[in-house]
């Protein structure tokens, strides 16, 4: 379950005025997503969708308010336990964040290696998921050698290969053609049916309409519609 209770977020300036806080990026966000639930996260650019996702996958701490992820109070968790919790969360980043010096295979295998799975299981799962996203012939390719769409598919494969309990995706279909987008949604809905909680941020209204599910709609850092 994901539970946000009156969550506010400001960032800290890194360069100009280091340490000073920005304006409120998120303002009083409250919502719940039950275990196995699916939510679209929609809203215009700058509405705070990516910031909200960062809080879900524990890349940021809220300035105020309480967040519970999979029954764990995020503010009370130790760094070690936070790392273990992150292993149960699959994330598809908007900018893919593939490691440039690792092959497609090694990028997808990375979360399983961090979780210390055995190599035979890693090989089977990574090969299978890369075949599923249509990259069976590109296992050894470095990210620079892949197109934008291929890189996005590697990022998606990396997010789902460990069968996460929670999947968070930020514009996962942005660089995919319609056929690939359909395949991705088939994969995500299949994971959701198997019990994975899913939150997908998107601008793609056609996709949202094609796969009806409750929406979290955002504007100017606030949740304007829920459900």
């Amino acid at each position: 379950m994901i539970k946000f209770d009156d969550v506010w977020l400001k960032y800290r300036h890194q360069e100009r005025r280091p340490g000073a806080l920005t304006r409120d990026v998120l303002r009083g966000i409250s919502f719940q997503v039950p275990d196995g639930g699916f939510r679209w996260l929609t809203g215009p650019s700058g509405a705070g969708k990516t910031s909200l996702l960062k809080l879900i996958y524990l890349a940021e701490h809220p300035t105020q308010g309480r967040i519970d992820i999979m029954g764990t109070h995020a503010a009370k968790i130790s760094r070690r336990d936070a790392a273990l919790l992150r292993r149960r969360i699959g994330v598809v980043y908007q900018d893919f964040r593939l490691l440039p010096h690792l092959s497609a295979y090694d990028n997808v295998a990375l979360p399983m290696r961090l979780a210390r799975r055995n190599e035979s299981q890693i090989q089977a799962d990574v090969t299978e998921i890369l075949r599923w996203v249509g990259l069976a012939g590109r296992l050894a390719a470095l990210p620079d050698e892949l197109s934008g769409g291929e890189q996005q598919r590697v990022a998606i494969a990396r997010a789902v290969v460990g069968r996460p309990k929670l999947l968070v995706a930020d514009e996962p279909t942005g660089n995919l053609d319609d056929e690939q987008a359909q395949r991705l949604m088939t994969l995500i809905t299949a994971l959701n049916r198997l019990g994975t909680t899913v939150v997908v941020a998107t601008h793609n209204h056609a996709l949202v309409n094609a796969y009806p599910a409750p929406r979290l709609e955002m504007a100017e850092g606030r949740l304007t519609a829920h459900g």
């Binding site: 790392a83 992150r86 292993r87 964040r97 490691l99 979360p111 961090l114 979780a115």
Partner: protein
């Protein structure tokens, strides 16, 4: 099938392959010379202290004049008294020839023939407790004006000098260690800055702080140990050359033509040199661990 990648952070390119080892090699070279200097000064000081602390020199003015009891010459009376004093071994008056050799730089080859009122000099070995402070008053009662000089006071100066040198050497080693640690920290921070996005990604994928820190620490350990080993190896020929130069000062003096600087290096130095890469590795590991863990704390 793709080969397993064992360097997920790409640290082989993020932590410079040559700069850190070269700088650590220079630090190790300095450390080796410092250790050698400290050991050599300690060895020479010990040798000098042992030789001088026991030396006792007595000057008897007007040696041919009668002693206080008017029984014998002052020289004979003092000699007799020295032979019966506890702690004094082998009192011997310097011969005229020996006196001439001693005074030759100042008075020429035959000082005794100049008619100067030269004192008689008696050498002895002091084997008693302390510096033999009671000797001079006892001899003065027999022959007024008699001086007794013990090497113990010089030995005390040598001891103080040696302690100062060892303190300086220790300070230099501490500075070298701190500079080495700072170099590793700087290199690690550069690597962190260069790999920021990658680290944030694997952090987000569930990597533990300890795991990320270990990747950096392992790389830093290899680089510092390699550099320190190179520095110690480079120092070795210099140390052997210095040992050859210092050989005539060694005790016992090696026979002429013995050469062989290898045998002249003290065992403690042979033991210390292999410790340099180990110490550098430890410093590198600790510095990298602290730097990376501190940096990671800025991440959520």
């Amino acid at each position: 099938m793709a080969k397993r990648h064992t360097d997920p952070l790409g640290l082989h390119s993020a932590l410079e392959d040559w700069m850190l080892p070269v700088l650590v090699a220079a630090m190790s070279f300095l450390a080796a010379l410092t250790i050698a200097g400290a050991l050599a000064s300690t060895s020479l000081a010990t040798q000098w202290r042992n030789n001088t602390a026991a030396a006792l020199t007595i000057q008897v003015p007007q040696p041919a004049a009668p002693d206080a009891a008017n029984n014998a010459t002052r020289l004979a009376a003092v000699l007799r008294a020295l032979q019966t004093m506890p702690g004094i071994l082998n009192p011997q008056p310097l011969s005229t020839g020996a006196m001439n050799r001693l005074l030759a730089p100042w008075l020429g080859a035959d000082a005794a023939s100049l008619g100067l009122p030269l004192p008689a000099v008696i050498t002895a070995t002091w084997n008693g407790p302390g510096a033999g402070e009671a000797i001079a008053p006892a001899l003065n009662a027999i022959a007024p004006g008699t001086l007794a000089q013990s090497g113990a006071q010089w030995a005390a100066h040598v001891t103080a000098l040696t302690a100062s040198l060892q303190t300086c050497a220790a300070a230099v080693l501490v500075i070298v260690a701190l500079v080495g640690g700072a170099l590793v920290a700087l290199a690690t921070r550069a690597g962190l800055a260069q790999r920021r996005d990658t680290i944030e990604t694997i952090h987000g994928l569930g990597a533990q702080d300890s795991g990320i820190a270990s990747l950096f620490a392992s790389r830093a350990t290899v680089l510092t140990a390699t550099g320190a080993a190179a520095g110690a190896l480079l120092a070795l020929p210099v140390l052997l050359w210095l040992a050859t130069l210092a050989a005539p000062l060694a005790n016992p003096v090696p026979p002429p033509g013995a050469g062989g600087g290898l045998v002249n290096l003290p065992d403690a130095l042979w033991a210390a040199l292999p410790c340099l890469p180990l110490a550098a590795a430890l410093i590198g590991w600790c510095s990298a661990q602290l730097t990376v863990r501190g940096w990671l704390r800025k991440l959520a």
